[in-house]
């Protein structure tokens, strides 16, 4: 197995004191970020990104991805102890996790959450280890038309499969694509949409937008709510851990099902949030006594946590293999790759073996260390919530400003961040989704370049997108997904009509 050899090579890259120390720092910061209300995975990664600007790419990605794992673990702590989901993907964990804490089984619930998170991630990492190199080497044969088709597929699946109102998804996506186009046109060198401003010449930086949209707007939203909270304190003893682990094999079906759902939704842009709910609902549907769900059933913690983590981790697969992020956080990591001077895409597996396999190895190690860390330090992190929000809010604002400024050393970016903060606040409240915007902003230029390069190659003939079986089927699939709501509606109508005819026929 070639993957094994490369994985061992990855571990050899990873096992230096400096990298291991950065890993620990990343995990602790990540759990911290996950526990705090008003901060989450994408914000945390975006705000802490500037710390990594002067590091070498491998150390940087290891630290950032560990922040991400930490945030995934941390989200469960507040859901179970305080009934406050630290992250949107931990909402489903509160359904059974909080009742368990109320019954005095907080330690069991936490152990279950952390363990199932670990299992979900592990399944996803195994998938990445054995699937990503294959996909990448397949994608090496892609030309501009194929890449454009894949980008189109990503955009279309957001519009067609998203749960939000379609016109709002379209507004969010077109706005992102438009802002991505501000500045110098990479193909012709012409200036676009700059209106004579020198500041806009550089373009609108993706990370500045993300810090504003997620960081600042989240502070505004959190401030709006009541900040008082009341919850349980808990510590986990080894005895409880062993007890929960002994029960684990009984729930193999739930764990497996949730992992599969998570992996699927992570690779496609469904996301961890959808995955956690789907994992929970399916576990409920397959259970014999459905009524016990929501009253503190351990399976109700296993199912959503496994799915959320499997999804959060597998979202990195398309990012590594194709340069297309499967989630908001993956999009930010992709932005990081560009800052460190790496070109995301299948060539990473060839040109930057140390980086890719170091990252994959860090996923294994990060999750093991993370699991041990959260199991031993829960009381400490739960106590973080005692810190008043009025102390944390201004610190987050300062960290956001540092992050925004550091990217291009521009004061203009701090103002831009503030504007995006207000925009994000308004968008969240009127239901315009931010994920399509983020994705469009990071992929916009690459998608346009791919389109125009294919046009130059084909002499302006649009039929190049159906010129061979591969690109043709991806393009067609993209269009089918775009119009999926219409198509599925028409199919349902047809089926009804047929049924009606059949009924008339039998009469």
């Amino acid at each position: 197995m070639e993957a094994f050899g490369l994985l061992i090579y990855g571990f050899s890259v990873l096992l230096t004191w400096k990298t291991l120390a950065l890993m620990m720092v990343g995990l602790v910061l990540g759990i911290f970020v996950g526990v705090l209300p008003g901060l989450g995975g994408p914000n945390g990664v975006a705000i802490l990104l500037p710390l990594t600007f002067t590091m070498d790419p491998t150390s940087a990605i290891v630290m950032l991805s560990c922040i991400y794992w930490g945030a995934l673990f941390g989200g469960a702590i507040t859901s179970i102890l305080f009934n406050i989901p630290g992250e949107a993907w931990s909402v489903a964990t509160t359904f059974d996790g909080y009742p368990m804490a109320q019954q005095g089984k907080a330690a069991e619930a936490l152990t279950a959450a952390f363990t199932s998170s670990f299992i979900g991630s592990l399944v996803a990492v195994l998938l990445i280890t054995f699937l990503a190199p294959g996909i990448a080497s397949f994608a090496l044969r892609f030309g501009p038309p194929e890449f454009f088709a894949v980008y189109l597929l990503t955009f279309c699946s957001f519009v067609g499969l998203g749960r939000e109102e379609k016109h709002k998804t379209i507004i969010s996506m077109t706005l992102g694509l438009l802002l991505a186009g501000v500045g110098m046109d990479t193909v012709s060198g012409q200036l676009r949409m700059t209106f004579g401003s020198n500041e806009l010449l550089r373009g609108i930086n993706f990370l500045v937008a993300v810090i504003g949209l997620f960081g600042i707007s989240e502070i505004l939203l959190t401030m709006e709510e009541r900040l008082a909270l009341r919850g349980h304190a808990a510590s986990i003893s080894p005895r409880v851990v062993l007890k929960v682990w002994k029960e684990l094999p009984r729930y193999w079906a739930t764990l497996l099902r949730s992992s599969a759902i998570g992996c699927w939704l992570g690779i496609t842009p469904g996301g961890a949030i959808a995955a956690s709910f789907m994992g929970y609902n399916l576990a409920k549907r397959f259970a014999r006594d459905k009524d016990s769900f929501g009253k503190g059933r351990i399976e109700g913690v296993f199912a959503p946590e496994t799915a959320a983590h499997a999804s959060g981790t597998s979202a990195l697969l398309p990012m590594l293999a194709l340069g297309i992020p499967g989630s908001g956080t993956a999009a930010i990591l992709l932005g990081g790759l560009m800052v460190w001077g790496l070109n995301p895409g299948p060539l990473l597996f060839v040109e930057h073996k140390g980086f890719v396999w170091g990252l994959i190895a860090s996923m294994y190690l990060g999750n093991v260390v993370g699991l041990i860390l959260v199991l031993t330090t829960v009381p400490l992190f739960a106590a973080v919530l005692r810190v008043p929000f009025s102390a944390i809010a201004p610190m987050i604002v300062v960290s956001c400003a540092i992050g925004a400024y550091a990217i291009q050393n521009a004061m203009f970016d701090i103002w831009l961040m503030l504007v995006f903060g207000v925009v994000g606040y308004a968008f969240k409240k009127i239901g315009i989704p931010l994920a399509p915007f983020t994705l469009a902003l990071v992929l916009g230029n690459r998608a346009e370049d791919a389109f125009r390069l294919s046009m130059i190659g084909a002499g302006g003939d649009l039929r190049v997108f159906w010129s061979n079986a591969l690109v043709g089927s991806i393009t067609t699939l993209a269009l089918v997904l775009l119009f999926w709501p219409l198509i599925s509606g028409a199919m349902a109508q047809m089926r009804n009509a047929i049924r009606r005819d059949a009924r008339l026929g039998t009469k």
Binding site: L177, L220, E224, M395, A401, R452
Partner: protein, 180 residues
């Protein structure tokens, strides 16, 4: 073993009143946002039309994509406005209550001031003022605690970014005094 009676309780010194009157409805904000985005779409569309939005021999010109994206954005905004207009008889949710708006201003205005001060006095002095001021006036935390926390935070930030990680921030007269 966990004890359920061990509780962590954090109080909100100044919670927003639950019965506060609404400032505006979600529908109004939705329509206003759509109108603003529509204006932006028209502006960008015009600029791209000026840049060149047609096909030449090698494919689309620089303004081709953004022009049609502006058109799609405008269409989606019009659709949204039309939809809200048709549904105007149904009640709409509250976008923000007066008490909530007051709380949001409480954090937004200091953030705005922070950005202004950063431009003149540098980021670290501004961050000291923001943390200390916010804790003392909004959080109603004892002044000495607020000042101490702010001082420590700004110092840690300075050491982390400026010294340990070589990330350069905007600096003002105070840092110049210390030779940075």
């Amino acid at each position: 073993m966990s004890k359920p009676e061990v509780e962590i309780v954090v109080e909100d010194p100044d919670p927003p009143a639950r019965d506060s009157p609404a400032v505006t409805s979600t529908r109004t904000v939705e329509v206003v946002a759509a109108l603003l985005l529509l204006a932006l779409a028209v502006l960008l569309g015009f600029d791209n039309w000026r840049t060149g939005m047609s096909w030449d021999s090698t494919g689309p010109q620089a303004g081709y994509f953004p022009f049609y994206l502006s058109a799609i954005l405008a269409a989606a905004c019009l659709f949204g406005i039309g939809k809200e207009f048709l549904a105007r008889k149904q009640a709409s949710e509250t976008f923000v209550t007066r008490a909530q708006l007051r709380r949001v201003t409480q954090v937004f205005v200091p953030t705005l001031l922070f950005c202004v001060v950063t431009q003149w006095l540098g980021l670290y002095v501004a961050s000291f003022l923001l943390v200390a001021g916010f804790m003392a006036f909004v959080g109603r935390i004892a002044a000495w605690k607020a000042v101490l926390t702010a001082l420590l935070f700004s110092l840690i930030m300075f050491v982390t970014f400026e010294i340990a990680f070589d990330v350069i921030m905007p600096k003002g007269p105070l840092e110049a005094l210390f030779g940075h």
